[in-house]
């Protein structure tokens, strides 16, 4: 019920409240600020001031909570409050009304004031209009004058510029005089646009003059750039200015660079001179040292100068390092080229050392200036090459030297022997050449090692290796060379030989013998000494890496030379026996042995044979050492007993060989051979006079036997051979050492002849002896007058 009745009342109350709250805008906010969930009984009593005030709820709450007394009290309170509120409301209404009245008054007054304003405004407009027209008048009257003034101003500016340009030559002159080139350049560049625009017409003279001045400036600046006296800074500035003047700086740069190059050329010439002088000097030892030193200092000074120039250039022209590096490297390269030329001229190591020292100081100087070029590395590499070159050239000279010494034999033999013992001389000379040469080479190389200056010190280990390698290589080459000389070279190096190989017949046998002995000498004396030297001063290179072993392998070389020595000795024997074989061949090919005439004297081929042996003996005597006690040992050997046993047998057989018992004869030979030890004809050859001669004699006699076996003889032919052999028997004793073997072989020849004879009747011993005696007498007669 209350709700129904209370609804309009509520509406009214709510409107009132809204109005009030909109007026006191703080109320709803304070009301809403209350916590919404204060549904407790205390809270409810406070909600009377909030917006969400529910009157019924409030009433219920109040009734529930309060007792009668409380309710009454509340009622009183509320009545009082309501009364208060009513009066407040009334007050507000009155106040608002007052305000409204006063506002109405104000509006009334404003209305009165505005009426006079219209006229005022019109007056103002009028005045403004008149002001505008006046100012327009002034404007028009002043316009022409202002134009004029502005024109005048412009003309003045132009004139000032023209004045500047006309003054420019003079100013430039002045600048040139005071050397204020920077200002001059600034003026000139300022004037440039004008010259560009009007230069052809109005300012021709002026432009010409100023250009002349600028040309002078450019000249001066160039001079400044090129003059070494100026400070680097000044020169750099000059270059900057030139650049501003649109001067082709690149060409300048090129020019300056050319200058540097020119400098370099001169410098190199200097260095060449230096080394030249030092080389010349070297001949005359001490007196030359002073000029040498002087030129060295001169050289150093010029290099210093060069370094300065390079430094300047580097500062003046930026980004020029690559070019300069190249130049510096060129410099070093040229240095080393000069060195290389020196090396080719067979320079001494001392000179090489000085050259290296000079180069190193130069390099250090340049490196200070130009670290970008990494000159020390570059120089190091070049030095590597140079030292290697030097070592190889030293070795090749050495090789040449030895081969000269050796080949002199051949040349000398051709032009008739003047000395008595050409082979001996040659052998001694070449032995000396080998020893002395290797010692010299060592001396040279040791000087390289002893040097403590930068380059060589760095190269030390490498040098040691190279020297070792060099020796190894040298001996291999020497061996090859020897083989080449004898025409007996490896199949492997055929290509080389196609050109150089000498036909085997043309090689002098003596040379071969000398080479044989020389090889032996190298193996037994030279190599040990060199090994010693290397051990003492060239050990411990070790850059090669241990897995390769040392570069110099003496055992290897010894082996090579030993085998070569043997090879040469065999070759010598071969050559000699071949010659004798030809002799024998001719002897047996010529006559018809089946129709041979009675022997009247020893055949002359024996003389030729002995002559050959004699020649061999002289050669061997010159070159080969004497064997020790060979004769004695030989006579004790099996061979002699065998031959002494077979001799009577043979004589016996020969005596009755005319009996027709050839079969039993053969049987006897067989038996004899069965009983005796096999004759060791082909023993190992040693490098002694006796061994070589004996071997050749034995081989020749064996050949004789073989030739005999190919023929068929009649009685006289047999007797001729018998006579010849008999003579040989008595003469060969003096030549060959191994008497037993020689006897045996000579007997074999006779036996073989008997076997190949249709009617083997030997000469009677007295006749034989007589004929041999006459021959001996004849030869001694011949030898006496000669």
């Amino acid at each position: 019920m209350e709700i129904e009745g209370g609804a309009p009342l509520d509406d009214k109350a709510k409107r009132m409240r809204d109005l009030l709250s909109s007026f006191y805008s703080s109320d709803p906010s304070s009301a809403s600020s209350l916590p919404p969930n204060t549904s407790s009984r205390f809270a409810t009593l406070d909600t009377i001031n909030t917006a969400s005030f529910n009157a019924d709820q409030y009433m219920n709450l109040l009734v529930q909570k309060s007792n009668m007394e409380g309710l009454l009290q509340k009622h009183v309170e509320m009545a009082a409050e309501i009364k208060n509120l009513d009066t407040d409301l009334q007050m507000l209404v009155y106040e608002n009304y007052n305000k409204f009245i006063s506002a109405t008054d104000t509006i009334k007054r404003m209305k009165n004031n505005i009426v006079g304003m219209e006229t005022n405004m019109e007056q103002l407009l009028e005045k403004i209009m008149s002001v505008q027209s006046r100012s327009d008048g002034v404007n028009t009257s002043l316009f022409e004058k202002r134009e004029h003034i502005e024109k005048l101003h412009r003309t003045r500016n132009l004139l000032r510029k023209v004045q500047f340009i006309y003054d420019l030559p003079a100013r430039l002159e002045k600048c040139i005089k005071s050397e204020a080139y920077a200002d001059a350049v600034r003026y000139y560049t300022g004037a440039m646009p004008i010259f560009k625009a009007y230069g052809d017409s109005s300012f021709q003279d002026c432009q010409r003059q100023s250009e002349e001045a600028v040309a002078i400036i450019i000249n001066n600046l160039q001079g400044k750039v090129f003059s070494d006296a100026e400070s680097i800074q000044a020169r750099a500035e000059a270059v900057m200015l030139l650049k501003q003047l649109d001067f082709p700086v690149e060409s300048l740069k090129v020019k300056l660079f050319e200058k540097l190059e020119q400098f370099l050329v001169n410098l190199n010439f200097d260095s060449k001179e230096l080394t030249d002088s030092s080389v010349d000097v070297n001949g005359s030892l001490d007196p030359g040292r002073v000029p040498h030193a002087a030129s060295a200092t001169a050289h150093e000074a010029s290099v210093r100068e060069f370094a300065e120039a390079v430094r300047a250039y580097k500062v003046i022209f930026l980004d020029s390092e690559p070019q300069l590096s190249k130049l510096a490297q060129d410099f070093v390269t040229k240095h080393f080229e000069a060195t290389h030329q020196q090396i080719e001229k067979q320079i001494h190591s001392a000179d090489l050392v000085t050259i290296f020292r000079v180069i190193w100081t130069d390099v250090l100087l340049l490196d200070e200036v130009l670290p970008e070029a990494s000159l020390p590395d570059f120089a190091f590499q070049s030095a590597c090459v140079a030292v290697k070159d030097y070592i190889s050239s030293a070795f090749s000279h050495f090789l040449l030297h030895i081969s000269d010494a050796v080949t002199k034999v051949q040349g000398r033999q051709k032009e008739q022997i003047e000395e008595d013992y050409p082979l001996q001389v040659a052998l001694e000379a070449s032995q000396k050449a080998v020893l002395q040469g290797s010692m010299n080479v060592f001396l040279e190389f040791r000087r390289l090692l002893d040097e403590n200056s930068g380059l060589l010190l760095k190269l030390r280990d490498l040098t040691i290796d190279w020297v070792q390698e060099g020796f190894q290589d040298f001996f291999r080459k020497l061996d090859d060379h020897f083989r080449l000389l004898t025409g007996k070279s490896n199949v492997a190096s055929q290509e080389v030989n196609l050109l150089e190989r000498m036909p085997g017949d043309k090689v002098a046998a003596g040379l071969v013998l000398v080479l044989a002995q020389l090889s032996l000498f190298i193996e037994q004396s030279a190599i040990p000494r060199i090994t010693e030297e290397i051990a003492s001063s060239f050990s411990g290179g070790g850059v090669r890496g241990s897995e390769y072993g040392p570069a110099f392998v003496p055992a290897d070389i010894c082996r090579t030379f030993r085998s070569s020595g043997e090879m040469f000795l065999h070759l010598y024997i071969n050559m000699r026996t071949q010659k004798i074989s030809v002799l024998l061949k001719k002897r047996f090919a010529a006559p018809n042995w089946v129709k041979h005439k009675e022997p009247r004297e020893v055949h002359m081929f024996v003389d030729l044979l002995l002559q050959e042996f004699e020649e061999i003996r002289t050669e061997a005597k010159q070159v080969l050492p004497q064997g020790i006690n060979r004769k004695h040992r030989r006579t004790d050997s099996n061979g002699s007993t065998a031959s002494s046993r077979s001799n009577p047998l043979r004589d016996d057989r020969l005596n009755r060989s005319n009996t027709q018992k050839a079969r039993s004869q053969l049987l006897e030979t067989h038996l004899a051979k069965l009983f005796k030890q096999k004759m060791e004809i082909f023993t190992k050859v040693e490098q002694t006079q006796e061994s070589v001669i004996t071997t050749i004699v034995k081989l020749s006699l064996k050949s004789l036997q073989e030739f005999v076996r190919l023929q068929t003889f009649n009685r006289s032919g047999f007797q001729q051979i018998q006579l010849d052999v008999h003579f040989l028997k008595s003469t060969l004793k003096h030549i060959a050492e191994d008497e037993a073997a020689v006897d045996f072989l000579l007997d074999e020849v006779i036996v073989s002849t008997a076997e190949r004879c249709l009617d083997p009747v030997p000469l009677e011993p007295p006749i034989l002896d007589r004929l041999v005696q006459t021959k001996l007498a004849k030869t001694s007669e011949q030898s006496l007058p000669s």
Partner: protein, 351 residues
């Protein structure tokens, strides 16, 4: 290297120089050898190696009228062979046929097939084409080369061509190329001459070579082996005659003869006047040739070419023959008339 007396020996009565393998005998390993006796009646021995290879059996003994300087067996008929003989100043060459034996071992006469007459100076050798049936025969004397047309059934031999080697060239021997029946090499004083039998012209030569004996390699074409005058053995490639392909040391005195093995490539036998027979292996040397260009290779690494040296001989060895049936067997003949047959089996290169 001392070869023990491993060989099987057989003694001839007289001195002898030549021995030949009977190639046409496919059932047995046989050799023919002839004696060289000035005063006695010479003999031709037909030797057969027993099946066990332990004994040399004389299968036939035939008397020969003169001393035999060269003997060659016909490669296609085991009963036919040729000899070169001389006696004093007379000389001759003939082709013989071994008579049917009928079991008896007496010395029946040899049947003459043909006599190679017409030579005017000392005959050196008679050559058969080594590879097979061929109706031609070559005989060489000191100055001339004869090409014969041989008909064994009709027992005739006719000179088909004859050419002089030139006045100053004393021919000493020769060999017929087994790979080319038209090509032949002749040795003379200072060169080896290569002849074409179709044109009878010298087509090439190895100059400045003092050669005692030549032999072609049966397996490898264009390979010629020469025994040098003094010592040493050279191996040549016929397509490049300027330099030998390889060198072998040879013998201390003369190397008299060289023989290439018919089956094993590079096996070479040489016999010398130092009373020894050497067995060489040259193929490895030849093959290494290109590789050994670098001188850096130490000489010790070079393979020793000498496989074995047989020196159980009393005198110079002149005769040498490989068996073509059993190529690991060879027969050698020393001047004292001793035939030694050896087997090289222990030295054969491992395949």
């Amino acid at each position: 290297m001392q070869g023990g007396s491993t060989g099987i020996g057989y003694g001839l009565k007289y001195q002898a120089r030549c021995i030949s393998d009977v190639k046409a005998d496919t059932d047995h390993t046989s050799f023919l050898t002839g004696t060289l006796s000035l005063k006695e009646e010479n003999e031709v021995h037909l030797l057969r190696l027993s099946s066990g290879g332990t004994e040399l059996i004389c299968e036939g003994l035939f008397s020969h009228p003169n001393e035999i300087w060269d003997l060659a067996s016909c490669p296609f008929d085991q009963r036919i062979f040729s000899t070169v003989f001389s006696s004093g100043e007379t000389y001759g060459a003939a082709v013989w046929q071994i008579p049917e034996l009928y079991g008896q071992l007496s010395s029946p006469q040899l049947e003459s097939v043909a006599s190679l007459d017409g030579h005017t100076c000392k005959i050196r050798c008679v050559l058969w084409w080594p590879t097979g049936r061929h109706d031609k025969l070559v005989s060489v004397d000191e100055q001339n080369l004869f090409l014969w047309s041989l008909d064994t059934s009709k027992k005739t031999a006719q000179v088909q061509a004859q050419e002089s080697a030139g006045m100053l060239h004393y021919l000493t021997g020769g060999a017929w190329d087994p790979h080319d029946s038209n090509s032949i090499s002749l040795t003379c004083d200072s060169s080896v001459q290569l002849w074409d039998l179709r044109t009878m012209k010298k087509i090439n030569s190895i100059e400045h070579a003092h050669v005692r004996n030549v032999d072609y390699d049966m397996k490898k074409r264009y390979t010629l082996v020469t025994a040098e005058d003094e010592s040493g053995i050279h191996i040549w490639d016929l397509r490049n005659l300027k330099f030998p392909v390889a060198d072998l040391p040879g013998h201390p005195h003369w190397t008299w003869t060289v023989k290439c093995n018919p089956v094993y490539e590079g096996l070479i036998l040489s016999a010398g006047t130092d009373s020894a027979v050497n067995l060489w292996l040259a193929s490895s040397l030849g093959r290494n040739d290109s590789a050994s260009d670098s001188l850096a290779a130490p000489p010790t690494r070079r393979i020793e070419p000498l496989l074995n040296s047989y020196n159980d001989y009393e005198d110079s060895v002149y005769g040498l023959a490989w068996s073509s049936r059993e190529p690991w067997v060879f027969a050698s003949l020393s001047y004292d008339g001793r035939v030694v047959v050896e087997s090289i089996k222990p030295h054969l290169p491992r395949k």
